[in-house]
């Protein structure tokens, strides 16, 4: 059963130098963050997660590392399994393996990868997870699915974390949340990205309190008894420390077509004073079991006092 204690991560999509990246990783560790995440996109995200996470692990000692999240369609799962297990082995077991069905249509377009409909991408992700777990387990593994075939392969190396590193699976729709409920240790409750655009009104309107209640219900229904073991994660894209929460909330609300109250509660924003943020995080944990909060690395220092107050409580 998960204890629902707070922990925190930072997400780093870009840096301007090698020294800056090393500094961010070491600072995240020193400030009490649990995990450094790197996203996986082709456009506007100039760090490839696999080598960047490996490098971050090499310059730290306890910081966990993970992709948030890998687009399953970008790499064959056998290739991914070997890379993930290598990071886990060479970091003494510090990988959190975030993986998703893929959604950002511009990535697919630029790289000439066919963008199948969501249900096909989710079915492919389900097969990939079976393959990843099969290769992480002991002994040779075979699999024959709709999308992948693996024959008598004993995946090497094996990860240090047994039976496998924790999977992070995020989503905002019922199908992917059901898959997460079955397969993940950490579930990201996100916007619904069926539009292929993270900044669309469709994505934003899926983040109201009522819609978040609905997502948690999907997750509960799909997880059954497993729900209590799941760690619920949110990626907060917008962190703004301010004494004037109301006017910021109104600005966000106008831009995305939601009410100011919903703009404040939405699990992708944190706006207000330090105390208000602490209250918000406690409220979200109470209502939605959200205990694992990831913030952009630009907010890392500003947000650190909140990490100091809440991490581990």
């Amino acid at each position: 059963m998960h204890d629902r204690r707070f922990r925190f991560g930072v997400i780093v999509p870009k840096v301007s130098s090698a020294a800056e990246f090393t500094e961010i990783a070491r600072q995240a560790e020193a400030l009490g963050y649990s995990t450094l995440f790197v996203p996986d996109h082709f456009v506007d995200h100039p760090l490839a997660p696999v080598p960047a996470l490996a490098a971050a692990a090499a310059v730290t000692t306890t910081l966990r590392v993970g992709p948030l999240v890998l687009g399953n369609d970008y790499k064959h799962p056998v290739v991914l399994a070997r890379e993930a297990a290598t990071i886990d082995l060479l970091s003494d077991g510090r990988l959190e393996l975030g993986i998703g069905a893929g959604w950002m249509s511009v990535d697919y377009e630029k790289a000439g990868i066919p963008l199948d409909k969501p249900s096909v991408r989710i079915a492919r992700l389900a097969e990939a997870i079976t393959i990843l777990k099969g290769l992480f387990a002991d002994g040779p593994f075979s699999f024959r699915g709709e999308h992948y075939t693996v024959t008598e392969l004993d995946g090497q190396p094996k990860p240090v974390q047994r039976p496998h590193p924790p999977f992070v699976i995020g989503g905002g729709g019922p199908k992917v949340l059901a898959l997460a409920a079955r397969e993940a240790a950490i579930v990201g409750v996100n916007a619904n990205l069926r539009s292929g655009d993270g900044n669309s009104r469709d994505a934003a309107s899926s983040l109201t309190s009522a819609r978040t209640d609905e997502k948690l219900q999907w997750l509960r229904d799909a997880a059954g008894a497993r729900f209590d073991d799941l760690e619920i994660q949110t990626l907060v894209g917008f962190v703004h420390v301010t004494d004037d929460r109301t006017s910021i909330a109104e600005a966000i609300a106008g831009g995305f077509g939601v009410t100011p109250d919903d703009a404040i509660l939405a699990p992708v924003t944190l706006v207000g004073t330090e105390s208000q943020m602490v209250e918000l995080l406690e409220l979200r944990r109470q209502r939605w079991q959200m205990s694992y909060t990831v913030v952009p690395h630009e907010a890392m220092s500003q947000f650190a006092p909140i990490v100091a107050r809440l991490a581990g409580t």
Binding site: P51, A55, A58
Partner: protein, 311 residues
């Protein structure tokens, strides 16, 4: 004009984080230029991409790369992005080793179609254009048989400008002509058309065959031949007082005589001084200045590195 000698080690195994870190530092301390990793799934261990990133993070001057990435395992735009990321995070210590792919057991295990060598090489040719397009300034588009790229301004660009060195290895005429046209470093390898290491592969490394391979590289390279660094990965590297006796023992595996083994472009056999002489002679004859040995003998081989590196 010949290139200065430099040396590499091809490593694939480690059972812990500290072992891998210590290995990388030892390779650097012994004067090797580059740590390379193979890219296979069956009977090999670490994945090269994260492992070279970690090796580079634990060292300060060591160069890193794969020897070589199999093009068929990953989309070239992803490979380009990952290698450029490591190049940025190491202030420019990467070499992109890439090949058409050959080990059939990998393809079978992954369920990947094992196309004819001609198709795999054509795909590698396209992949090189995609990779170079990703690394050049501004958006690019590409429409090939195997890859399509649309108005993509890939990030990051490599720290090494205008490009990180591209290393292509091969043993047949098509891939070596392609390497001659496109690569900065060319590995002269056995011909692996059989899809496995066989006597056919071993025989294709004979002295006469090595000269033929140089001819194919020249055909592809034209005027740029002198700028290309030539590499041999010595799969047979034995420090011994009894070179002929050693050669007699391995000759059946090469399908040749002991004398032919000693002349083979895949074998380096003898005392340390004899190896030094032979490498100097081969650089004079063949132009090969970039020498790679395996994890099983890089420690014993270190005196050769100490004598020749940079000369």
């Amino acid at each position: 004009m010949s290139h200065a000698f430099r040396f590499g080690v091809q490593l694939s195994e480690a059972t812990s984080a500290s072992e891998w870190r210590d290995n990388a530092r030892r390779v650097e301390d012994l004067g090797y230029s580059t740590l390379y990793m193979p890219d296979h799934f069956v009977d090999t261990s670490l994945a090269p991409m994260p492992a070279i990133a970690i090796a580079a993070a634990h060292t300060t001057t060591l160069r890193v790369g794969a020897l070589v990435f199999d093009n068929d395992y990953k989309h070239p735009a992803i490979l380009a992005k990952e290698m450029a990321t490591i190049d940025q995070l190491t202030d420019g210590r990467c070499e992109l080793g890439i090949g058409a792919g050959w080990m059939k057991t990998d393809y079978d295990a992954l369920g990947l179609p094992y196309d004819s060598p001609g198709v795999r090489i054509a795909r590698l040719d396209e992949a090189l254009q995609v990779i170079k397009g990703c690394w050049a300034d501004g958006p690019f588009s590409f429409s090939g048989t195997h890859y399509k790229i649309r108005e993509y301004d890939a990030q990051p660009k490599p720290a090494q400008q205008p490009s990180m060195p591209i290393l292509i290895g091969g043993g047949g005429p098509k891939v070596l002509r392609l390497a001659g046209r496109e690569a900065d470093i060319i590995g002269i390898n056995p011909n692996l058309r059989a899809g496995a290491v066989t006597t056919d592969a071993a025989a294709s490394a004979s002295k006469a065959e090595t000269v033929k391979k140089l001819g194919w590289i020249r055909e592809g390279a034209g005027d740029r031949f002198d700028a290309i660094e030539l590499q041999i990965r010595y799969f047979v590297c034995a420090i011994t007082d009894d070179a002929l006796g050693f050669a007699a023992a391995v000759a059946p595996g090469f399908d040749s005589t002991p004398e032919e083994v000693l002349g083979s472009g895949a074998a380096l056999v003898g005392t340390i001084p004899a190896m030094i002489d032979q490498l100097v002679a081969r650089r004079d004859d063949w132009g090969v200045s970039n020498i790679v040995v395996g994890g099983d003998n890089y420690l014993d081989f270190a005196p050769v590195v100490a004598a020749l590196a940079g000369t």
